[in-house]
Amino acid sequence: MRIDWWTIGLQTINLVVLLWLLGRFFFRPMTKVVAERRTAANEMLDAARAAQEKAEAATKEAEAERQRVAASRQEALEAARKEAEAQRAKLIEAAHEEARRERAEAEAALDHARGQAEAQLARQANALAADMAARLLEGPAAKLPLASFLPELEHALAALPKATRAKLATEAAPATLVSARALDEAEQQDVREALGRALGHEATLTYDTDLTLIAGLQLSGGMAVLDVNLRADLDRVTARLDARDE
């Protein structure tokens, strides 16, 4: 048995050299690449975590946004509902108002119509009264003397303006004297005299009869018509009654 010390020494040197070489060319690059990859992986993990956090935040924000939108939608719905209710109330109010107004109008129209009908009735009643008065007066009034109307005719003529009076019943433009019954010669004479007195000149007259006058005279000539008869009185009374009834 022999220990080869040279071999032990050589092998030790060999191993130390191998130690250095492997440490330099094998373990250091391996460790470096592993560490680099770990760093890269950590970075990626960090980035992924950050991205995830961001995504979660975005999700949360979207959720909040959704809730906000839902709330605003709810709000809008509520407002719309309220507005619709207000609108409806207003419409109902307006409809009520309209109905009230129409009813009032209808009532007014009804009142008006009734008033008109009443006026009509009153006018008819007046006309009837006048008619009845005329019928009643027909008999007795025909017997009234002419003289009872003449002063009134003179009086009416006196109320006319002078120019009109001067042109009335001239020869150039004779006036027409209408009476309820035919006048005889004497009566015509009386009338002419009375007119001449009232007009201040000779009266030229034509004569006519009209039963509707009931009693009295009507003088028409030029622009003037003078009524001194019961018909005219009745008409005046009727008109005054109508005016009162209106």
Binding site: M1, R2, I3, D4, W6, T7, I8, L10, Q11, T12, N14, L15, V16, V17, L18, L19, L21, L22, G23, F25, F26, F27, P29, M30, T31, V33, V34, E36, R37, A40
Partner: protein, 230 residues
């Protein structure tokens, strides 16, 4: 039959006899360094197949060292890793025809154990200080000082003898089988040698790690010190 305890020099460089294990070690060194150069030139963040295997091995080494030493594996990685890889390749180099593993000779194993012994001293002094490391020999009492000193020597020798005996016996048995039967018969024994070689490489590295870890942690935590086997 040649004695496995004796090696004949192949040639002389001046007065220095160059023996077969030295030449085999040189070849293994060249192969390992060339391989690591090629690998480190093509290191990528996204590993290829070879790089992935190498990263797996270094990662497993780191894990084992960390579990044994109970601290950061970085200071021990190069030593333990180199010893493991070298012993593994040296043990398996016996499978090549005409090559005798360098670890089948006492001298190579002695050099390896010497390296581990020096690393134990270095790391013990580095982590505890010189006086602190000397004090660890007086644990638990001063009576233990001779025993601890003897333990340092014997466990280094046991490292040598264990590796030498295992690898050499494998080579020896295969030689005997070859001389008896020849073709195909030694193949199961060679397969067993592969297993033994891997296990012995692992055990050598782990024991070195245990020794270093004990030297580092003895002063730090006397209660949980690992009694190193002799």
């Amino acid at each position: 039959m040649n004695s496995p305890l004796v090696i004949e020099p192949l040639f002389y460089v001046g007065p220095v006899p160059i023996t077969q294990p030295v030449v085999a070690t040189w070849v293994i060194m060249a192969v390992m360094v060339l391989f690591s150069l090629l690998l480190s030139r093509h290191l990528k963040p996204r590993p290829g197949r070879t790089q992935a295997v190498m990263e797996l091995i270094t990662g497993a080494l780191d894990h084992q060292i960390e579990e044994v030493v109970q601290s950061d594996p970085a200071p021990y990685r190069v030593l333990i890793g180199t010893i493991f890889l070298f012993v593994l390749i040296a043990n398996w180099s016996g499978m090549l025809p005409g090559v005798e593993p360098p670890t089948a000779h006492l001298e190579t194993d002695a050099a390896l154990a010497l390296l581990v012994f020096a690393a134990t001293l270095y790391h013990g002094v580095r982590s505890n200080g010189f006086v602190g490391y000397l004090k660890t020999f007086a644990e638990p009492t001063w009576i233990m000082i001779p025993l601890n000193l003897v333990e340092q020597i014997t466990r280094t020798f046991s490292l040598i003898i264990r590796l030498f005996g295992n690898v050499m016996s494998g080579v020896f048995v295969i030689g005997i089988m070859l001389s008896l039967a020849g073709l195909l018969v030694p193949i199961p024994l060679m397969a067993l040698d592969l297993l033994t070689g891997a296990v012995q490489a692992y055990i050598f590295a782990i024991l070195g790690c245990v020794f270093i870890g004990a030297a580092v942690s003895e002063g730090r935590d006397a209660a949980s010190q690992e009694r190193s086997p002799s």
